[in-house]
Each structure stands twice: as C-alpha cells, then as structure tokens.
C-alpha cells in the first residue's frame, strides 16, 4: 500500500491513467447501477405501501421510507457491494493476469513503481467517481419509486413528493458520501492487493479475484456498521 502511494514517475501519465480508470470503472458501471437502483426504488415503494396498512401511518410515509432507505443504506452500501463484485473482480483479474504474464515484471524492469502505476489511479478514480455513481443511484431509486408507485397506484403524486421532502436532513447525504468514499477505497484497494500478489497461473488469477471480492464485501459490511455507529448514533 505504501508503494501504491509512492511518488509518481511522471504525473501526466498518472493523470491520464486516472481518467482512463474513471471511464472504465465508473462510466462502465453506470448501466448496472441505473437498472438496480430504479428497480429497487420501485420495489421498496410497492412493498412499503403494501405493509403500511394502519390508518395511523400517513400515506406520505412511503416517500419518506423510499428516500431514507435509498440515501442511508441502499445506494451507499448495497450498490457498493454490487460494485465490489463488478469492479473488484475486474481489478483483481486485470492485475493478477498482468502479474502471471510478467507484465508487472516488465514495468519493474523499466524502473517504474508498478504498484503505484497500476493501483494508485484505480483507487483515486474509484474514490472520485463512486460518489457520483451513488448520487446517481439515489436519484434514480427515488425516481423509480415515484414512477412505479404511480403506475401501481399505491401512492399519489402529491403524497410521494411530500414524503421525499418531509423533514429532509442534508446530513444524511453527507453521511452516505462519507461511507461511499471509504467503500470506494476498499473496492479498489483490496482486490488490487490480491491481484498484485497473485502467484501461479490462470487458476490463481480466478482465486485472487474471488478472494478480492469476498474480502472487500466483508470489509464494506464491517465499515458500514462502524461508520453508522460513529456518524449517526
């Protein structure tokens, strides 16, 4: 990890690599994040409306539930877990393949800090771009809930909008973005570590990829609990 944050040989090349990684890790994940967020927003809306049968619970509570679920937990934590699977396996297998095909040795021979050149841009791209993905997910989840809630007839236009604006706490978004930043670091660094230290051949690359995703996912869940305790309680 220390080597990954070592002084870059040439800043301009690292900058270019960060933009490449942002495109491949970030833009490449927009589709899956959009699909999952829209459908989860829709499902949360319909399930919440179905479960709120008591006349004591106001109808706008559906909007409140969707908003808080998406902002507090679904977008930062669950989408990060999904990204750990998608991005994490890609990072571990890419770096692992480079290791077993001696591409990392080739970088070292050229006098390049291979850990810095390969891992640092991925971490920076992930930490910078994942918050954008998560805000995108929050927006689409709430929008999905609105569209499908109206289509299913479980909530009215007025009630839903009242719900998503009711006692809105901007700190919740900041809390979600802090969590996202930490998760983004885990998503990029843990699989990169496992990929970088791959030994053997194709089978070991697969193992590194699996290990990277599993450890990253467990760490995300652990830090989700820790950060929630520290920031919200």
């Amino acid at each position: 990890m220390k080597r990954a944050f070592g002084k870059p040989e040439k800043l301009s090349l690292y900058r270019a690599r960060i933009f490449e990684e942002m495109y491949s890790l970030g833009i490449g994940s927009l589709g899956i994040v959009a699909i999952i967020s829209v459908f989860m927003g829709a499902v949360i809306t319909i399930q919440t409306a179905f479960n709120f049968e008591s006349p004591l619970i106001p109808p706008y509570a559906v909007g409140v539930a969707v908003r808080d679920t998406m902002i507090l937990e679904f977008s930062p934590a669950i989408v990060s877990l999904i990204l750990a699977g998608k991005i994490g396996s890609s990072i571990a297998s890419e770096i692992g393949t480079m290791r077993v095909t001696e591409q990392i040795d080739a970088l070292e021979i050229m006098g390049i800090n291979s850990a810095g050149y390969l891992i640092f841009p991925k971490i920076i791209a992930s930490v910078l771009f994942n918050p954008i993905l998560i805000i995108f997910s929050m927006f689409l989840g709430i929008l999905g809930g609105y569209v499908f809630g109206l289509m299913a007839g479980v909530v009215t236009d007025f009630e839903y909008i009242l719900g998503i604006t009711y006692e809105f706490r901007p700190f919740n978004v900041i809390y979600a973005l802090i969590k996202t930043g930490v998760f983004a670091f885990i998503i990029a660094s843990v699989p990169a570590y496992h990929g970088y230290y791959t030994k053997g051949g194709a089978l070991e690359v697969g193992r590194s990829s699996t290990k990277g995703v599993v450890y990253a996912s467990v760490l995300i869940l652990a830090f989700d609990l820790i950060l929630t305790q520290v920031l919200l309680v």
Binding site: E9, M98, T101, E102, D105
Partner: protein
C-alpha cells in the same frame, strides 16, 4: 549466454540479475555498481539502462503495438508526441515490423510479439539487454530471425546482452561466452568453440542431447 536444463535455475538467475528476485548472497555488478547495495533511486537509475525480453513477450494487453513501444519513451524522456511516434516507428522498423502499429498483442503471432518486445526493450537505448528464452514457442525459422535480430542489435548498439536459452541452435548461432548451469550452480563456462569440445559429462549430456548436435560432434 546462459544455458541449462529446465528447472536448473536459469530464469531465477536472470531475475536476480535484473533485480526482480532478492538474492541470498553474492553481487550483481553493473559497471562496478553492486545493484543490491544501491538505494531505491540508484536501482531505478540502473533499471533505466536495462532492456528485457521476457519469455512470453510481456506486452501490455491493453495497449497497441505502438503504445507498447511508446510507453517507456513517454515514461523516461521529454520527447514530443510526434518524436515519440517517430522513435517507436524506427524501433518497429528495426525489428522488421511495419503496419502493425494499431494491432493489439492478442492479434499478434508469437514471433511478432517477441519482435515488439525487442522494439520496446531498445526504445530507450538500454546499455544491457536481458533475454529470457527468446525462442520458446517459436518455429525454427522464426527462432533464427529472432536470434539474428538479437545479435544485430547487440553489435549495432554496442550493448551487453545476456540470453537465457536451452536451444543449442541459438548457442551456435549467436553465442560468444557461454555459461552452463547445472542444479543451480555455475557448472561450466567457456566459448562456443570450447563447449563443443568439452569433456564435461553434464555439459555433453545437455549439448549433444539431439541427433543434430551428435552429428555436429562427429564433424569436430
């Protein structure tokens, strides 16, 4: 040239020479500078003087042929984009590889990969060239092309080249000083002419393992 049976420690020795493996003892000297006594910056300076041809080529999969050759130039020189391209094209022409600039490594044959790897290795004009089994996986004709290319580049640029191989044809074609490694030790050392006359049993078993070499021995 360093020769020896599979598993005798040739590649391990080469990796120790270029600093990819840590050594248990001894010295690796580049112009009297012991590589393993140097700090990170000193090692980096020496590595800039080293070009290496890996067994599988070790080309960067995500980059085109031209980008692979341009990469070390971008990393260590302040050339403009057009100068970098010119230098890359010069190196690619030097290895007889034209019209392949936009291809990716996956689209190249084994011999082409080796030639791109040589072009990349000479792109920043190294003082030392290390080749790990440059002929592995190549047909005899392409092997000779690669051998001759290594020889020509060594003479043309006045560089020191270390070749790891178990191919006796390569030894006969381009070898000057030969070291035979046996069970991890420097078992025998001499010239190409000497290795063909040696009585050392282990060396003879290796050198004359093929019918072709046995026939050659009878001519001596």
């Amino acid at each position: 040239m360093i020769i020896g049976e599979s598993g005798s420690g040739k590649t391990t020795l080469l990796k120790c020479m270029v600093g990819l493996n840590e050594i248990d003892g001894g010295e690796v000297l580049f112009n009297d500078r012991n590589f393993y006594d140097l700090d990170f910056k000193g090692k980096k300076e020496i590595r800039k003087e080293i070009g290496m041809l890996f067994q599988g080529g070790a080309l960067f999969d995500s980059k085109t042929v031209e980008e692979n050759v341009v990469f070390p130039i971008s990393m260590f020189t302040e050339m403009t984009e057009s100068e970098k391209r010119d230098r890359a094209n010069f190196c690619l022409q030097r290895v007889n590889l034209q019209n392949a600039n936009d291809l990716y490594p996956a689209e190249l044959s084994g011999g082409m990969k080796k030639r791109v790897a040589i072009a990349r290795a000479i792109a920043v004009q190294p003082k030392y060239l290390f080749c790990d089994e440059p002929n592995s996986g190549l047909d005899p004709k392409t092997s000779i092309v690669i051998d001759n290319l290594i020889k020509e580049i060594t003479d043309e640029y006045g560089i020191t080249t270390v070749v790891i191989t178990h191919d006796m044809n390569s030894v006969i074609e381009i070898g000057d000083n030969i070291m035979f490694i046996y069970k991890g030790d420097n078992w025998w050392q001499g010239s190409k002419e000497e290795i063909l006359r040696t009585e050392n049993q282990e060396v003879c078993d290796f050198v004359y393992a093929t019918k072709f070499m046995k026939n050659l021995k009878t001519k001596f």
